[in-house]
């Protein structure tokens, strides 16, 4: 069933210049807001969080303000955490209550095709296979990022809440939370750096960055290159 909103999602943005590139909507306003909330809180949380682990020598750069820095570090970390949790509630609402959200969620579900894609793509990378797999709206890299991101966010939120309200729980839960919170943060930060930053910033042709996160638009040639099945469907629905 396609609703009017669904069609708007698939709308093709025509260029003012007839020879210019056609653009397709890849991230709508909801999704862009969610992405902005995610990346900004992630950066703030990572910086204010890892500040706890700074060696003593690094703290000297704060000079006489080290005390205030530590105080505000805690406050800012909690504010960012609350925004992150609101965002984590916003996303399920979007996935359940809007047609575009429901479609987004359905497209994000892992399928058997993803496993075949991984196999084919790795074979393509090392030259065993001359053809790249044809990706749908979300490829296995994006699905992996989405789902590990969700699992990681839940783990880090739960342990973070245990740390915040430590007095109401046994000491052992606190100790486990400190450990898991730290390790999960290291895992998430390094995964973001290697996986996501490469994909949208460092990849040849993308540098300095892909602009989809700003205006939500993907150019036609990029869509054909990266999500051919999605392109086909969009063009078909246009007719």
């Amino acid at each position: 069933m396609t609703t009017s909103k669904d069609i708007r999602q698939m709308h093709i943005i025509r260029p003012s210049n007839p020879h210019g590139d056609r653009y397709f909507l890849r991230l709508n306003l909801h999704e862009r807001i969610q992405h902005h909330a995610t990346w900004s809180t992630f950066v703030v949380l990572a910086i204010t969080g890892f500040m706890v682990e700074f060696p003593e020598e690094w703290i000297k750069v704060f000079g006489q303000y080290h005390e205030a820095v530590f105080y505000w570090r805690g406050i800012i970390h909690r504010i960012a955490a609350v925004i992150m949790m609101i965002n984590m509630a916003y996303q399920p609402w979007y996935f359940i209550c809007t047609a575009t959200g429901r479609k987004y969620f359905r497209d994000m579900l892992p399928t058997l095709k993803d496993l075949r894609d991984i196999k084919q793509n790795l074979a393509y990378y090392i030259g065993w296979n001359s053809e790249k797999p044809l990706f749908d709206r979300f490829n296995y890299k994006e699905k992996l990022e989405f789902w590990t991101g969700w699992i990681g966010s839940i783990i880090i939120t739960v342990t973070g809440l245990f740390l915040w309200f430590q007095e109401y729980f046994p000491k052992f839960i606190f100790d486990v939370s400190v450990l898991v919170h730290t390790m999960e943060a290291i895992l998430a930060s390094s995964a973001i750096l290697v996986w996501h930053f490469y994909e949208v910033h460092l990849k040849p042709g993308k540098f300095p960055m892909s602009t989809i996160w700003l205006d939500g638009k993907i150019s036609e040639h990029e869509l054909i290159e990266e999500h051919p099945l999605e392109y086909e469907r969009m063009v078909k629905s246009e007719k």
Binding site: P170, V176, M183, L187
Partner: protein, 388 residues
């Protein structure tokens, strides 16, 4: 020659007369010789002893009003012979204004000797007396450091406050000394960081701790308490905050199993709350929150490890004693270990190793994937360029 000597002597007398305060304290005229910064000797063992006294600094110190002979007993001839080692329990001729009796640290030392740091009782003396901290291990003759933020004066006197004293207490020198004593006592002597340094100077020494059947506390630096100290939070908890909180006394620290100890299992909730302290720390602390151990866990990822930990590990690797998995097993098999704690330790270590493997494997796979992707994309782009 004689005139020269006379000139020198007259000069000396003049100096002594001018520095009235110093003259009052140095009645025995010790500074006649001891003011020379080169004064010292090398003993039979080749150890250097410095006998120089900086008069200005001494006068500003907590003992600045006490004559040398009060503590340095047995000085009767030149050069000094049979000088006794300074004993802090000596009764000095200073009158305690509270009692009107001669002052002494003996009462304090009595309490200290029965504490965990004391020499033990006659029936049950400590084995390694040389490892125990004596008075001077922690206490030097400190320079007064009164609260000076009010006026920002170098000397630490806030004139507005001092003026309230000298209306009645007209003897300026005495009032100043009293003011210094009082204001110095109003705040913590050492910063939390210095306090941790002092305690860990023994308690992080693995050999010394093993000899005395104790565990080294290097893992205090894994706790959030230490992170707050590192950032200079003035209310951050140091060793004393929990081992001698409000209602306890730093000279009477008791072993963990003693009911008088702040970290005895029945007193832990009270210690965590710190009711009545400068800062109430964990006001909602429950018995289950206060149970368990604060610093014997060793679980941090090691990415940001302390230089000290890295050195111990390096030593272990050199000696060939670094076996992480055997350490894990040893924790379970160690007889007499606190069972729930050692069980918890294993859970913690398993989580730690799970994450270390997960991070290692996942991130390496990601890096390999992205490097392959990089070359494939490059290949694709160059193909496209040649095609065009």
């Amino acid at each position: 020659m004689r005139y020269r000597l006379l000139f020198l002597l007259s000069n000396l007398i003049l100096v002594f007369l001018l520095s009235g305060q110093a003259f009052a304290v140095d009645e025995e005229n010790c500074l006649l010789c001891h003011k020379y910064s080169g004064l010292g000797r090398i003993d039979e063992k080749g150890k250097k002893h410095l006998f120089y006294v900086n008069e200005k600094l001494y006068n500003q110190s907590v003992h600045g009003k006490i004559r040398c002979g009060e503590c340095h007993l047995g000085i009767e001839e030149f050069p000094h012979k049979n000088v006794k080692k300074v004993d802090c329990a000596t009764t000095c001729h200073l009158t305690d204004p509270a009692t009107g009796r001669p002052f002494s640290h003996a009462g304090m030392i009595e309490k200290y000797e029965i504490s965990v740091h004391g020499k033990g009782t006659t029936e049950n003396p400590k084995k390694h007396i040389e490892d125990l901290p004596t008075c001077t291990y922690c206490h030097d003759n400190r320079i007064y450091q009164p609260i000076n933020k009010l006026a920002g004066r170098e000397q630490g006197i806030a004139q507005e406050i001092f003026d309230r004293c000298i209306g009645c207490h007209t003897n300026n020198a005495w009032t100043e000394a009293f003011y210094y004593h009082f204001t110095e006592r109003l705040h913590q002597r050492r910063s939390s960081q210095r306090m941790v340094e002092l305690c860990t100077s023994c308690h992080e020494d693995e050999e010394k701790m093993a000899r005395n059947n104790l565990k080294p506390v290097s893992t205090f630096r894994d706790t959030f308490h230490w992170q707050a100290i590192k950032y200079g939070d003035p209310n951050a908890p140091n060793c004393i905050t929990c081992h001698a909180p409000v209602g306890y006394f730093s000279h009477e620290i008791m072993p963990k199993k003693d009911a008088r100890s702040a970290i005895h299992k029945d007193n832990l909730v009270h210690t965590c709350i710190n009711q009545g302290g400068v800062q109430v720390c964990h006001p909602d602390a429950t018995p289950s929150f206060a149970q368990g151990t604060v610093h014997p866990y060793q679980f941090k990822a090691g990415l940001f490890e302390d230089q000290r930990d890295a050195q111990t590990r390096k030593k272990d690797i050199e000696k060939g004693t670094f076996k992480p998995f055997q350490t894990l097993l040893a924790r379970t098999l160690k007889p007499g270990a606190d069972q729930p704690v050692s069980y918890q330790n294993i859970v913690m270590l398993l989580i730690k190793y799970f994450y270390m493997v997960l991070i290692g494997v996942l991130i390496s796979c990601m890096i390999v994937h992205q490097v392959l992707d990089y070359f494939a994309t490059k290949r694709e782009l160059s193909r496209k360029v040649t095609h065009v």
